[in-house]
């Protein structure tokens, strides 16, 4: 062991405050505790309520992974999925965040967002990749909060914050409509069908529709709704018509609406107003019953081609439509007749041209307004006496459609009408054009029968004989002339031929144009030859481009 004297003494270093080293170290555990405590507090504060949702099936829901999203914001996560006690559904337990608390009220709706095709829309495609999630739509009810919910099986058609109005439509058939089918106004999609219910008596359907703001203001009491599904093909007195709203409507069906301009009040209809759903635009925009008068016109001839809805025209002006075509047996004349019910529009009127002192205008309105002559007054007994009749006329020869024409027939003026019905609204009829044709044909046939054909034949024979004699004489005369005429004609022809030949020869050679053309062709062929030679030379000696032609051998090769 070394001896103690050789061991040096350690230097005393100045004493440092012990505080900085030993005590300061305790800050670390304090800090750790603080951090952990803060984390725990944060966790506890931000955790929201736990809710349970009942669904029919838990397809796509995974405990611990599936999230609850509102407008794509994460509001909670599914913690547990278990079978419902009655085994007819599943209970999903979800832990929500604290800010989700105000959303969980009585009419909050929850549904599973999956890839879906409905109402002409594909939704939720992103869930194919990222997995389904539960969508939540906050309720507007400010009442008590709720923790147990019944989940919807299909997403709600509307979000609760969409503004607009709901209406009800009564329809006889659903057609191709379904929940989510679009509502169109002038081909603009303004709403959708919310739901369809069959009435308890099974006769009609009630559709609940929703029209978005600001278009809901355009729905008034007089608005007409009609099926806009598919293609509307109609063949009527005007021809063939093809109508469709949009491709979407063709596929998923839709409803269109329009407010007829004649309807006066523009006040928007209240929410929940009921309307009828018509089958087509034509039927929707037809005037309602209270605006028409009913008349009857009984036709004797065939009413083939006359369809319900065919127009009734007065000299081409539409004054109504055919409501019904019936068949009746008239024992008085022992024939079948066809009473056709006509609907004449009541509010049509002709304006009377202003004239000095025209006091006889019937139905003239108060002075200051232009005088009006309601057309229904056209169809009065007085008119009938003047020859007003109804007649079936053909509107389209191809389709055979017919319409009812009301017109004055001067030749029938004052005709005695004995079988006019007792109804005040009866318009007598006259035969239609086919009937007239028939009559004309029979008249012609009668006339033809009256012609004495035998006598005519005898006369004809005599005439033919004399004609024959005349022809013979003519022939002889012609032969005599022929001998003189033909040689000179031949000479003329020869001259003509020679002239033509000379002209042709003149045109052939020596004329400047062919000459120039041949020169041009010659030059062209020379140019082509030169090009060909150049190409050949290059091909044989490509280096001649750079180095020029090789010297030819002095002697001609053997």
């Amino acid at each position: 062991m070394a001896d103690d004297d050789a061991i040096p003494q350690a230097i005393e270093a100045p004493r440092r405050s012990r505080w900085s080293a030993a005590q300061a170290i305790w800050l670390i555990p304090l800090l750790a505790v603080g951090i952990v405590g803060w984390l725990a507090l944060n966790e506890w504060l931000s955790s929201g309520p736990t809710i349970t949702i009942r669904f029919r099936s838990a397809e796509g829901i995974e405990a611990g992974k599936t999230r609850v999203k509102y407008r794509d914001v994460d509001l909670g996560v599914v913690k547990q999925v278990r079978l419902a006690p009655d085994r007819k559904g599943v209970i999903v337990v979800a832990q929500m965040e604290a800010d989700a608390r105000p959303l969980l009220v009585r009419d909050t709706r929850l549904w599973i967002v999956r890839a879906r095709l409905s109402g002409g829309e594909v939704s939720g495609l992103s869930t194919l990749l990222s997995g389904s999630y539960i969508g939540i739509d906050g309720g507007t009810d400010g009442g008590e909060s709720r923790r147990d919910f019944e989940g919807l099986e299909t997403p709600p058609v509307l979000n609760s914050d969409e503004s607009g109005r709901e209406f009800r439509l009564t329809a006889s058939t659903l057609g191709s409509l379904e929940v989510g089918s679009p509502i169109f106004l002038r081909r603009v999609r303004v709403g959708q069908v919310l739901g369809t219910d069959l009435d308890p008596d099974g006769r009609n359907l009630t559709l609940r529709i929703f029209v978005r703001a600001p278009y809901d203001r355009l729905v008034t009491a007089n608005t007409r709704f009609w099926h806009a599904s598919g293609l509307d093909v109609s063949v009527d007195a005007g021809g063939v018509r093809l109508r469709t709203e949009s491709l979407l409507a063709v596929v998923v069906g839709g409803i269109s609406f329009e407010t007829p301009p004649e309807a006066a009040p523009p006040t928007p209809a209240a929410s929940g107003t009921r309307y009828t759903l018509f089958d087509s635009q034509a039927s929707a925009l037809r005037r309602p019953d209270w605006q028409t008068l009913e008349y009857t016109a009984t036709f004797v001839d065939s009413v083939r081609g006359l369809a319900v809805g065919a127009p009734v025209e007065f000299k081409g002006f539409v004054i109504g439509e055919v409501a019904a075509v019936d068949i009746e047996f008239d024992p008085a004349i022992l024939r079948f007749v066809f009473p056709v019910k006509l609907r004449i529009y009541r509010d049509l009127a002709a304006t009377v041209a202003p004239q000095a002192a025209a006091p006889a205008a019937r139905g003239a309105s108060a002075p200051g307004n232009p005088a009006r002559f309601p057309l229904e007054q056209l169809l009065s007994r007085r008119s009938v006496e003047r020859g007003l009749r109804a007649q079936l006329r053909s509107s389209n020869l191809i389709t055979g459609q017919r319409y009812v024409a009301i017109d004055f027939f001067p030749e029938l003026r004052g005709e005695k009408l004995n079988h006019l019905g007792s109804g005040a609204h009866e318009i007598p009829t006259t035969r239609d054009s086919f009937g007239e044709l028939e009559a004309s044909v029979s008249r012609i046939v009668k006339k033809l029968e009256a012609v004495p054909f035998d006598q005519v034949a005898a006369d004809l024979q005599r005439t033919l004989a004399s004609l024959d004699r005349a022809v013979n004489t003519t022939e002889q005369t012609v032969q005599r002339f022929g001998a003189e005429l033909i040689p000179s004609a031949k000479a003329v022809l020869d001259d003509a031929r020679r002239t033509i030949e000379e002209v042709r020869a003149l045109a052939a050679q020596g004329q400047p144009l062919p000459q120039q053309a041949s020169t041009a062709l010659r030059d062209l062929s020379r140019a082509a030859d030169a090009l060909r030679d150049l190409a050949e030379a290059i091909e044989r000696q490509p280096e001649s481009l750079l180095r020029g032609r090789r010297a030819a051998p002095a002697e001609v090769p053997r």
């Binding site: 020869a505 052939a508 020379r526 032609r549």
Partner: protein, 209 residues
């Protein structure tokens, strides 16, 4: 450290240098001289007599085999392979020379006829000469020119009509004076001359010439 990258100036300089090199290379060799030949030999002495007759003869179309219709003289070697002599060229395409040569030769032999090779001058010729040259070549060992042609004379569009001679075949072989190109061309000219002699004989036999 500067990086070496050819800038725009560098590329231009390179281009100029290359161009100069190419040009110089091209100028390095001499183009060998060319000698020109024609079937229509220079006319010695006074021009031929001007014809006085009203008859006209149009020469054409004359078809020439493409092998001969080259800028260069074509000679067949003893083995029969054609060789083009790059230094010996025709001064005008054979296609144009032949009708002209024939016309000149015929004009010398037919004093009463105006002979022309182009269509423009003779509006309504009395007769038309149509020739198809099937063989017109030079051969070596022995040095000679070979000509074989099928010709016919048809009445032209003139009112009086002209002589008509059905299709004839003419073949001749003319020996060349030497192997040099000039002698060979002279042999060809002589062959053409012989053809024109035969044609003029037929013309004179068929009518006034």
């Amino acid at each position: 450290m500067k990086r070496l990258r050819p800038g725009r100036a560098g590329i231009t300089r390179l281009g100029i240098g290359l161009g100069l090199a190419v040009a110089l290379a091209g100028c390095a060799t001499d183009t060998p001289p060319t000698r020109w030949h024609n079937l229509v030999a220079a006319v010695p002495g006074a021009p031929a007599a001007v014809p006085s007759g009203a008859r006209t003869l149009a020469v054409g179309p004359v078809s020439v085999p493409d092998e001969v219709d080259r800028p260069q003289l074509v000679v067949r070697t003893a083995r029969g392979a054609p060789v083009r002599l790059d230094g010996e060229r025709w001064s005008e395409p054979v296609k144009a020379q032949l009708p002209r040569a024939l016309a000149l030769a015929l004009a010398a032999r037919l004093p009463a006829t105006v002979v022309a090779a182009h269509d423009g001058v003779l509006v309504l010729p009395s007769a038309r000469l149509i020739v198809e040259v099937q063989r017109f070549e030079l051969q070596r060992d022995p040095d000679r020119a070979v000509l074989r042609a099928v010709w016919t004379l048809r009445p032209g569009a003139a009112k009086e009509g002209g002589p008509a001679v059905p299709a004839q075949v003419f073949e001749t072989v003319v020996a060349a004076a030497g192997p040099d190109p000039t002698a060979l061309v002279a042999a060809m000219t002589a062959a053409v001359d012989q053809l024109s002699g035969r044609i003029s004989q037929s013309v004179c036999a068929a009518g006034p010439c």
